[in-house]
């Protein structure tokens, strides 16, 4: 199936948001994930299955302040 990830159409296998991110070496706790305009973090990201056409954006949380 295809999702739009970071603005680009991306082919991916069926799985969860956290699984998709883990496959890209992105620990879900190190980012804010936005799925179809809603924040999807923590347990939600572990449970939420991606569907064809989903729009997923992630924003890295890095140190500095």
């Amino acid at each position: 199936m295809k999702i739009v990830y970071q603005g680009e159409v991306t082919e991916t296998a069926v799985g969860t948001v956290a699984g998709f991110l883990n496959g890209r070496n992105i620990p879900v706790q190190s980012v804010i994930a936005e799925l179809n305009g809603e924040i999807c973090g923590g347990r939600d990201a572990e449970m939420q299955m991606l569907r064809d056409g989903d729009v997923l954006n992630v924003f890295r949380i890095v140190a500095g302040g």
Partner: protein, 201 residues
């Protein structure tokens, strides 16, 4: 009274009635607070446990004669020099998952102003599901690339500023410094004022 003589009566009333939380009084928090006060915000809840160190003076709204003092005390003093009529609730506390919601219970909007990535994530994890509006920052270290720092509305109740990439990395020589941290702090304050006044971010 507020520090901003250019406000309309309506804007003044709206800004004066808002109560804004600031989690951390370092580079982001101290400068964001000063911008908010100058803009016309009068009520702030600011939490920090730390003292002013020499390494803070490259970016934080403190002065050399305040070294060693509690940041909340020094910041209170500095903000009151801008506007004596402020209502400041300064909390000497290390914020964590167990206390952050109660510290900011009276605030509709909270600025995330930590330096540590884990603390930033903790705040988002605790306050967003509770429906609090959070204005956070990520990716503000180093020099240059001013235009890479953007404001993003994420979901219903999160605004983030930063480039989401450039974190503090001492081994790589990437440190927080006044220009970029200041840009981000100003963007956080600007976003908060826009949210309060229901303007475009």
């Amino acid at each position: 009274m507020t520090a901003n003589v250019y406000l309309s009566g309506e804007e003044r009333a709206i800004l004066e009635s808002a109560r804004i939380g600031i989690a951390g009084a370092g580079g982001l928090g101290s400068n964001c607070a000063a911008h908010l006060v100058r803009a016309g915000v009068r009520r702030l809840v600011i939490a920090d446990f730390d003292t002013v160190a020499a390494s803070n003076l490259n970016r934080q709204f403190f002065f050399r004669d305040q070294l060693g003092r509690k940041k909340i005390d020094a910041l209170r003093e500095n903000l009151l020099r801008i506007e004596p009529g402020l209502e400041l609730e300064m909390r000497d506390v290390r914020l964590d998952a167990g206390n952050i919601a109660s510290v900011f219970a009276s605030c509709g909007i909270v600025a995330e102003a930590f330096d540590c990535a884990e603390a930033k994530a903790m705040l988002l994890r605790e306050l967003l599901p509770a429906g609090k509006t959070v204005v956070a920052a990520s990716g503000i270290a180093g020099w240059g690339k001013s235009g890479a720092i953007t404001v993003r509305r994420i979901g219903n109740n999160l605004v983030m500023v930063g480039d989401f990439k450039t974190g503090v990395d001492p081994a790589a020589g990437i440190h927080p410094a006044s220009p970029r941290v200041g840009i981000a702090a100003a963007m956080q304050a600007n976003s908060i004022v826009a949210l309060i006044l229901k303007k475009e971010l």
